[in-house]
Point group: D2
Chain length 381, copies 4
Amino acid sequence: MAAQRKLRMGMVGGGPGAFIGPVHRLAAEMDGKIQMVAGAFSQSAERSREAGERFGIDPARAYADYRQMIEAERKRPDPIDFIVITTPNHLHLPIAQAALEAGIPVMSDKPATSNYAEAQALEAAVAKSGLPYGLTHTYAGYALVREGRHLCASGNLGKIRKVAVEYFQGWMSKPIENTGHKQAAWRADPAQNGQGGAIGDIGTHAFHLLEYISGLQVTEINATLRSVVEGRRLDDDCNAFVRLSNGAAGTLACSQVAAGELNEMRIRIYGETASIDWRQQDPNRLIVKRLEGPEEIHHAGTPYLGHDALAVMRVPPGHPEGYLEAFAVLYSEFADALRAWQQGNANPLPPTLPGIVAGVRGMRFIDRVIESNRKQSWVAF
Amino acid sequence: MAAQRKLRMGMVGGGPGAFIGPVHRLAAEMDGKIQMVAGAFSQSAERSREAGERFGIDPARAYADYRQMIEAERKRPDPIDFIVITTPNHLHLPIAQAALEAGIPVMSDKPATSNYAEAQALEAAVAKSGLPYGLTHTYAGYALVREGRHLCASGNLGKIRKVAVEYFQGWMSKPIENTGHKQAAWRADPAQNGQGGAIGDIGTHAFHLLEYISGLQVTEINATLRSVVEGRRLDDDCNAFVRLSNGAAGTLACSQVAAGELNEMRIRIYGETASIDWRQQDPNRLIVKRLEGPEEIHHAGTPYLGHDALAVMRVPPGHPEGYLEAFAVLYSEFADALRAWQQGNANPLPPTLPGIVAGVRGMRFIDRVIESNRKQSWVAF
Amino acid sequence: MAAQRKLRMGMVGGGPGAFIGPVHRLAAEMDGKIQMVAGAFSQSAERSREAGERFGIDPARAYADYRQMIEAERKRPDPIDFIVITTPNHLHLPIAQAALEAGIPVMSDKPATSNYAEAQALEAAVAKSGLPYGLTHTYAGYALVREGRHLCASGNLGKIRKVAVEYFQGWMSKPIENTGHKQAAWRADPAQNGQGGAIGDIGTHAFHLLEYISGLQVTEINATLRSVVEGRRLDDDCNAFVRLSNGAAGTLACSQVAAGELNEMRIRIYGETASIDWRQQDPNRLIVKRLEGPEEIHHAGTPYLGHDALAVMRVPPGHPEGYLEAFAVLYSEFADALRAWQQGNANPLPPTLPGIVAGVRGMRFIDRVIESNRKQSWVAF
Amino acid sequence: MAAQRKLRMGMVGGGPGAFIGPVHRLAAEMDGKIQMVAGAFSQSAERSREAGERFGIDPARAYADYRQMIEAERKRPDPIDFIVITTPNHLHLPIAQAALEAGIPVMSDKPATSNYAEAQALEAAVAKSGLPYGLTHTYAGYALVREGRHLCASGNLGKIRKVAVEYFQGWMSKPIENTGHKQAAWRADPAQNGQGGAIGDIGTHAFHLLEYISGLQVTEINATLRSVVEGRRLDDDCNAFVRLSNGAAGTLACSQVAAGELNEMRIRIYGETASIDWRQQDPNRLIVKRLEGPEEIHHAGTPYLGHDALAVMRVPPGHPEGYLEAFAVLYSEFADALRAWQQGNANPLPPTLPGIVAGVRGMRFIDRVIESNRKQSWVAF
């Protein structure tokens, strides 16, 4: 076996002040399969160059524009193998399209696009290109999320009857978008963020996790949105009922005005004979409660877990892994898939890695929530 | 100060196989203010007498019928001071009416009656009688529920914006009402239990706690009911959106088919600057999360709590109290009120003790949930 | 079956300002088997009468002195069936002796006496009398303590190898015995409390629980004592190594200067293949960790528990019981034993109820700890 | 500002089957400051080359021997900037000495050496060389460990009185060193591991954390060791009393036969007015309990933390970080120090980064524990 070169990544977005860009860099490189070598980090040439320096990127590969990066990289002998998109949401589609048209695979931050029509367009572009497209629904990378998915799929819980998923944050409890908070500002601006506020930013995570773990699809939804903070233009609080493809039902809630909560994402799935309970802030434990017998805590890394959970652990049980490791799991899977694709595998993406289908579902979710809220009634999904 | 005689209690219900009767006896007597001296424990004279013996009741005061008890007790020199009703729901109204008409104060297990019309009738009967009427919404007796109520009322959380209350059990995950489980059987029978299944049995608790702690009223509700277990005649799972009198909103959920849950009642209330989080299964801790500053755990019995919480503790902090102590708090307050009433105080019930108003609200809740579910839309409360 | 009269209890101690007296009254009466009818609540006749009034005791039976109570009650047609001792420790022996000599069974607060020699004298007195003697090592009454005991005895953990028990409080972090705190004052006074400070007050609880749950005996101990608060005359902090009768070993620690702790008593017992972990402040859950397989949480009241745990529950699983219920379990067992004894059973005390043997062990513990600390080395137990 | 090249790392150890080698690689590279470019991964040339390939190392830089690596790298235009030692303990000293003599800075896995005499020799070698030497006491890299250290140093707890630190694992509950478990085999072999078993492997972590967080030094120790598993040649269980430089005292315990525990490292430090409580398995929360006022949970990443904790966070509060991030913090600090040293700073190591002093303390700890156990008494530290 010959040493494999690292895959070369080019980033769009992630310039000064960005939170998620450095996280993508770190996660992409964690498992030693990928190296970030280029980037269009900012629309300002100077700020892009500065960001590149901070990242240790060759100055010649710190571009002022993603189109420029695509063009320039194509001409290099060592071009980027894929791009990662970490910009505000309204730029996701044009960047992805440009990359795909140029034959460059795409890893994208979520949500896939800024609305459902765009997501459909992107789905078509991905299909047409035949290129790998991955979506960083981070929480899908946690080992115990995969264990939960495995328990659902294997029938360990019996037929699924009921779900309860929530994602509560408190950081937008005040109108911080008006006082210079960059992360809040673009999230509160429909032009940059799309029509979904909390539902786009975190509701899509909750929605994805629900379908990802349960293996079911939402078929109907009844949602009610609020903009609790006065003057806010997008929703900051959402409660929804959902019905699922197997007849189960439940709730999905998200909020960015739940004062005192950090990233309280929790999912509970109840089957006929048992249920699972997982919280992102305590990610190395999966609680399994059974109709009969003691409550169980399944710890990450332990040998009694299924293959999917064990495959993504890096350290022994009792050594906590976290958000960055979950993120890196997705990059690691994407890297493997990308290499397989480079070697001729036409459908390399594993079912555990969120892709364009999940992306379209997520945008559909936002669309349906807004429609349901407008009608104040159930809508088909 | 002269030694006070104990108040004399007569029970209706609580015969062989009952769970809640012995709990009422124990709770009523815990603080040394009340003694159970009579009972119509069962509609079978023999079983009533047996129950009386087990309770150590004078055989002459173990009656076969509540009417008989009322009549006989009136003629005694040492009659009962009040009755407690612990029967299935459909009997609550006639028993309470008979007692009130006979001039006997009433303590009642919840729900107050088996439907809303009955609750209105009972409210009229209570008003007409001028007698004390208490309702054992047990959870209102927990010290930290009262601390939460105090924090809401005192503005400690800022204006309340959002609530999330749930009561999940799993014990009816199978059709046990068909296999000889007495507790399940009457709860699953509309004739005995009224029109509400899970919503009547535990949803009313969640609803009461929501209004009790927040100090707000539900003004609109949008509920969706299911009978998850095949063949079950009443609901066993409910999800609802609520809107509150101050403009806040949130969710209320209850289920008796949440496999693996025991009595998972949890309430979270989010204000502008802080939130509270309380779970019945961990009742001696109230979690307070603030927009700024560390998360706080307020322990029962500690001197930093408010008066209402400290007033109901029996043991020092760090010694857990539980369900029976919460129950007994209500009886202790009822006993004090009853004595005040006997001494001429026309309005003796403290605001911390649930009474007929809470009872009517609870039945209204069931009525509105069923109506909302029928319409699959919001209804006014 | 004829209705059984309640057993009549006379209390010594428990006057104004006492914490533990009212707890004994409440616990004794909780299960409807016992009624407190008399008391020598204080050495002041007036204060005893006041306490009696508050307890609702016939004024004629509120005595100024335990000797007086013993004498007077013997002459009544309805004398007390037993006395309970809730005084400071130095009075435990003379009171118990007087009762036993008068043919009156004894329930005693712990520790049994104020030193080991006294305990031996008491053991002889109990033996000579042939009367039931119970000791309220409260924590032995928790359902899940009994489940832990059952798991140890049944071999569920494999051979026991290691124990870790601790009881940490913080309430004596300042010299409150000098500033009018009555509970602290007598505990800090060797004349009233005996030679053990924290080790007597709470260390004996930890020690008892260790032997009670594990089923093993301490055979050697190496303890180190401190009086952390300047000027304190008794120990307020203790760490000890212990060796056990089966070759296992471990630690026992207690402190009353662990700032911020309430009643943090925790016991962990490690066997070859599994371990148990129980905390008094979370008493309705017993954690079982296995060498193989998920961690388990055993909930109080659930059907998968053993007989001893289920026998002492009063409410369904998910409804927390607490300190008072644990206390009441001991009284309930004592009442049953007392009645059996009254009916001629010479050895009625069940193995689950702590008695004089536990009392002697506890005083031996204090003696050995002090000796070990003096020598700064291991001592035989 | 010009882009800085990454520092070049050469690893000794970390070949096939090693757990800790890949962890070092990942942690070193996480923050983009370091790249592993060379290694003597195994004493077998072939296995070293294989490991190098897996790591993506230039085959020419996968050496069969650390001496060979040192020599070869010195001749390169792009030599390694430092080496990291991840071998079994008995090789730590010779490798470190060889590197230091060759002018190459060292990062070492803990413990520093295999006994105290070696540690003193290493200390001298480090002093003589004037080179940076870092020690990966991983847990020192957790943000909330640093917050605890800050709270102690700033007097937030009052004067420290009492400590309790433990590190319990269960994975060596059976004699797995005899059945092909590589990690267990060298740890159980005195020739490879030194004289300390559990005390060397995990006790040193507990000891380091105790001194690191409290800011105090152990001055006396009384330890008792056991080899619980029959035939095991080194200790697998240790309990110790400690006395600290400010007069405080407490306990230190470690075990590898605590069946069911994963990596239960917990440290509690009690001051006059407050205490802290931190668990490695729940690393993003620091619990602060106060003599007065509610218990507090300090969450990683929140703005109310001190500088040292905030300086090492990579993601917003509510997104858990874990073991690898803690590890990487040490590498990041080492990288910064190394660069400062390369630029002429003679004493670049920050006080937060464990170095040779901590290394010597750790080996002294093992030495003193063994001596105390031999004497079964207190020994000076």
